[in-house]
C-alpha cells in the first residue's frame, strides 16, 4: 500500500495526475471526434456520390484499422507530415507535435468515425414527415436542421453516444505508447521501477472502472432528463 501513497516515495500523486490527464485527453478526443462527425455526417447524407464516398471512406478506415496502428502512424508520420507542409511555406525550424495533440487527434479521428455512424443512424430514424412539415412551414434548410432535427438527433443518439464515449475513454490507454503520461503510462512506469506490475495494473483497472462507471451514471441521468419529451 505504501507504493500507492502520496509524496516522493509513493506513486499516488503521480497516478492522480495521470487520471486527470486521461480525463482531459478523453474529453479532447471526444470533442474533436464530435466536431469531425458534424462535418462528415452531411457528406454521408448528401445525394452526391462523391461526397458519400469521402464520408464512407473516413468511417470505414477509422473503424476498421486498429487504434494502435492509427496512433503509431500519426506519432511517427505526423510530425514529418507537418514539417513537410511547413517547409513548403518556408518554415525551417523543427516543429514539435506533442503527445497530447497526437493522442487526442488520433483517438479523436476514431471516436469521430463512431460518432458519425451514431448521428447518421439517429437522423435516418427521424420520421420523414417532420422534414416535410418543416419544409411546408417554409423553414430554411439550415433553420430546421438546427432547431427541429438536431435536438431530436442528440436525444435519440444519447445512449449510443454514451457507448462511443466509453470506447474513447478506454482507447486513451493506447496513447501511452506515445509517452503521454496518463493512467496506463504511469502504471507502466511505476511497475517498471518497482517490479510490481500486478499491483499497478490492477490499480489502473480500478481507476478506469471508476471513470467508466461515473460517466455511465452521468449519461444515464442525461437520458432520463431528456426522455421526458418522448
Amino acid at each position: 500500500m505504501e507504493l500507492l501513497s502520496f509524496g516522493d516515495t509513493g506513486w499516488g500523486d503521480e497516478l492522480l495526475r495521470a487520471t486527470f490527464m486521461t480525463i482531459l485527453v478523453a474529453i479532447a478526443a471526444f470533442t474533436f471526434g464530435f466536431f469531425i462527425s458534424s462535418l462528415i455526417v452531411p457528406l454521408k447524407l448528401s445525394k452526391s456520390k462523391v461526397l458519400n464516398f469521402i464520408g464512407n471512406t473516413y468511417t470505414t478506415i477509422f473503424r476498421g484499422v486498429p487504434e494502435l496502428l492509427v496512433i503509431y502512424l500519426l506519432f511517427f508520420g505526423g510530425s514529418s507530415a507537418v514539417m513537410f507542409v511547413a517547409k513548403i511555406f518556408g518554415y525551417k525550424d523543427f516543429i514539435e507535435i506533442n503527445a497530447f495533440l497526437t493522442g487526442s487527434v488520433s483517438i479523436g479521428l476514431i471516436s469521430g468515425a463512431y460518432t458519425t455512424e451514431v448521428l447518421r443512424g439517429a437522423i435516418n430514424s427521424i420520421n420523414q414527415g417532420q422534414f416535410d412539415g418543416a419544409k411546408s412551414l417554409g423553414l430554411k434548410k439550415s433553420t430546421y436542421y438546427v432547431f427541429v432535427i438536431a435536438p431530436q438527433v442528440l436525444r435519440l443518439s444519447l445512449p449510443n453516444l454514451s457507448n462511443v464515449w466509453q470506447l474513447t475513454l478506454k482507447d486513451t490507454a493506447l496513447i501511452s505508447v506515445t509517452g503521454l503520461v496518463e493512467i496506463m503510462r504511469q502504471s507502466y512506469i511505476a511497475s517498471g521501477a518497482t517490479r510490481n506490475p500486478l499491483l499497478f495494473y490492477c490499480f489502473a483497472a480500478f481507476l478506469y472502472l471508476i471513470l467508466t462507471t461515473i460517466s455511465l451514471k452521468y449519461f444515464n441521468k442525461l437520458e432520463k432528463k431528456y426522455n421526458f419529451y418522448t
Binding site: 511517427f76 523543427f94 506515445t178 517490479r195
Partner: protein, 275 residues
Amino acid sequence: MKQVNKIIATFLAIFILSINNLYSDNVKIGTEGAYPPWNAKDASGKLIGFEVDLAMELCKIMNHSCTLVEQDWDGMIPALQSGKFDAIMAGMSITQERKKKINFSQGYADEVASFAVLKGSSIKPKTPKSISLSNIDSNDQKTLDALKKAFAGKIIGVQTGTIHQNFLKSGLIGKVNIWTYKTQDEVNLDLASGRIDAALAAAVAFEDYNAKAGSKLKLVGPTFSGGTFGNGVGVGIRKADSALLSDFNSAIDTARQKGIIKKLAIKHFGFDASM
C-alpha cells in the same frame, strides 16, 4: 455552454503551451528513463541515472541550458529526426547501421553486453571472460560455437531495436528464439518469471536488477564488444547539426580530463566505464 467554453479554453491553453516550447533556445536531450543504471525514473517521476547526471554536467561545460525529454526507445531515432529533441543520451551504442541515419559524438562510456539467466539455470557455456567481434579469429569462433551449443533452441529476450537484437539476428550464435520487448524492465520481468531462458543486454542492466530485486539473475558467457555491438556509447545528433556535435565532442573531452565521467561512472555503475 459554459462547460463547453471551459473545455475549449483548456484545450487552447495546452496547445499554446506546446507551441511555446518551440521558441526556447535550449538544447533538448532525449533519454529513455527505463534503462537503469544508464537512465531511469524514481518514484517521484524524476529522471535519474548516469546519463541524466552526465547530461547536466556536459551542458554546464557547454554553457547551454538543457532540458531532458523522455522518449520510448523504439521511437528514439525518429523523434530526434522529427525535432522532438536535439540530442540522444540513452545508452545508445555507436554502430555503423545507426551512423547511416544520425551522427554520433565520441564515445563517453563503454557498454559491455552479456547474457543473463535465472540462477540455477542449466545454461552454462564454458567460454573465456570476454570476446571482441571486430575481428573474429579461430579462438573467438570457438567461443561462438560454445554459445551456439548452449543456446540452441532456447528463448532469448532482448529489447526491440537494440544492438543485442541485431547480434542475435546476425546468426553468429545460430538460430535462437528471439523475443522482443519494449523496455529492458519487461525483459527482466520475464527472465525472472522464467518465461524466457536467457536475456542479452548491458551487463550493468542485469546487475542493477539484481541489486534491487535480490540477486535472481546470473551473468553467463563472455562479455561482448565490437562488431554489431558498436564502439561505446555516444551522443546521437542530427546530421545537419554539426555545431552541436562539436560542442558535445569538446565538452566530453573536458569532462573526461576533469575526471567527471569517471566519477559518475563509479557512482552509478560501481566501476570506471568511462572512455
